[in-house]
Amino acid sequence: MTSTDVLDVRAKARREKRKRQVFQVTYLLLGLVFFFLVWWLISLEGSPFYYAIPSPLDTWRHFWGNLGTSQDMRIKFVHACPDLHPDNVNNPFRQVTSSLMGWKYTADTAIASGGPSPVPIGQLPGYCYGYGIHLLVTIVRILIGAALGTVLGLTIGLSSLVFPQVAQVFTPVASFFGTAPIFIAAPFFVIWFGVEIPIMTTIGLVTFYTTLLMYFFSRRAAENIPVGIVESALTLGGTPRSIFRWVYLPGTVPEIAGGFRIALAGAWGLGVLVEVLGIQVGGGHLIDIWRFLIGQIQAPAALVSLITFYGLLAVIVDGILLVIIRFITRWSEAGRRLGL
């Protein structure tokens, strides 16, 4: 084989890798198209779901229209919400930015409108605000909880490899809570921390749940590293520190990363569930409000749009995570399949 032939073979391999990547994106897009097509079909008049499920377009219109300031909700609770500046109501971009910037900016524009404020600004009920800020608050809470739980779970799990006493203390506790579905613990968290400290309740529960999962995954990942590899490291002069750094840390990444995906997927559901149970701000609270207003014409679109938002968000975040994980673990079989 000449060097030109070798170059040809390599170019062909690169082309095939790109082809595989194009196929993967195409399948993903086809899946999305299929999802929206089925949704649209079951929302058509004549379908048994016609009254329960609005079309994707109506859902989107409702979601976008309520993202910055939710007029649909404010109308129901008009006595409790101050007027907002017309610019805020009519300009979707302004709605989103005002929501993202937080309560203060929204409050300032409310005052600027000259309208009376029946309650202190910043302490308005959740239904006075658009969906954007609620959804953002939930996302931030869940991500903080998942990050805290991951750090805690990994610290406890990996340190238990070095200090077996940690495992002796923590494993029975984790096993006890781990055997009961975490969703059973959710109401207790709401009662314990109450709706007064929503940050503690949502973040606390997600942290607790993620810590348990990541503890088990990190332990299992370390146990699954072949003994021969650790022994080989020892005979090459590996110290506990170098073995931890160069064997256990990289070797446990695939399983820990897989565990994190599972934990985060559960955390979305768990975080929203806790908010539905009584927290006054967040996407789950919006679902609770619309559940209360179920007789209203906008309710199906509101509920479907919020649920779809979280579903799509979870899928998108998981997809991003998957790409990152595959890059980090490109040494493994998964990396090979992706052509990295």
């Binding site: 080989s232 490291a233 020892l234 005979t235 090459l236 160069w246 990289p250 990444v253 040494w331 990396g335």
Partner: protein, 258 residues
């Protein structure tokens, strides 16, 4: 030649799940001289790997001791790097990082580490694959990585536990040549466990024969090198083979049938 390894009245007794005691090693005593290529031969389950693991410090003996120089072996260390039967190359490290592992653990400076790694990668013919992942290499190439990693840490004694057992005939022969070249060049002491008599005859200065955990014979192999087919078919070589087979309880007729 000076003595580098000594086994003194070594016993290793394991308790089987049934409660029965199994003597993996029974009163094994012998010395290994510096620069020797020693092959430990025996049937499966007759104590070869246990003997090696005791010397590696991975298995404490029940009685007796293994000595490396004047030191009693009490744990693993880079002075006895080991190449294992199974694939123990770190899959998450590039080939270069694998070879560097022991040097990193010993806090060798970056410059020295790079120089040493390059040297051993070249010695095993993997310079062009330094930045490859182990999964991109064949089984034989991964064994070369393991061999380079063991050589790079600079230990005087290299332990090898049936390292080429899972490879095909041609790859194995190729790796025998690589190993013998390295041995000649470095004068390291190599302690090689195998159940393959032909492999022992190609490689060894001396064959230690184990049967049921006992040292049953210590056979010097004074055949000329390189030990090609002609040498292995010569009368002295055949004589050694017959001796080994007899000790293992296999007649020539049985061996031919196998």
């Amino acid at each position: 030649m000076s003595r580098v390894v000594r086994f003194e009245g070594l016993w290793c007794v394991f308790e089987h799940r049934s409660g029965q005691l199994v003597n993996a090693l029974q009163d094994v005593t012998f010395d290994v001289q510096s620069g020797e290529f020693v092959c430990v031969v025996g049937r499966s389950g007759h104590g070869k790997t246990t003997l090696l693991r005791v010397l590696a410090g991975l298995q404490p003996p029940t009685a007796g001791q293994a000595r490396l120089g004047d030191q009693v072996v009490e744990g693993p260390g880079a002075d006895r790097a080991m190449v294992f039967q199974q694939d123990t190359v770190f899959p998450w490290l590039h080939v270069r990082e694998n070879v560097e592992f022991g040097l990193r653990a010993m806090n060798v400076s970056d410059k020295e580490r790079e120089k040493t790694t390059d040297r051993w990668l070249e010695a095993v013919g993997l310079t062009d694959f330094a930045d490859s992942w182990p999964r991109e290499l064949s089984g034989g190439m991964r064994k070369r990585v393991a061999l380079a990693s063991a050589m790079a840490v600079g230990s005087d004694v290299i332990l090898m536990d049936e390292p080429f057992g899972s490879l095909d005939y041609f790859t194995r022969r190729n790796l025998h040549e690589v190993l013998l070249d390295l041995w000649k060049e470095t004068k390291k002491t190599i302690f090689f466990v195998t159940h393959d008599i032909e492999e022992a005859l190609i490689l060894a200065d001396r064959v230690i024969l184990l049967a049921e955990g006992r040292l049953v014979d210590d056979i010097p192999v004074r055949l000329p090198r390189p030990r090609d087919e002609d040498v292995r078919a010569s009368a002295p070589s055949v004589e050694i083979t017959k001796t080994i087979l007899a000790h293992l309880g296999i007649t020539e007729e049985e061996a031919t049938k196998v």
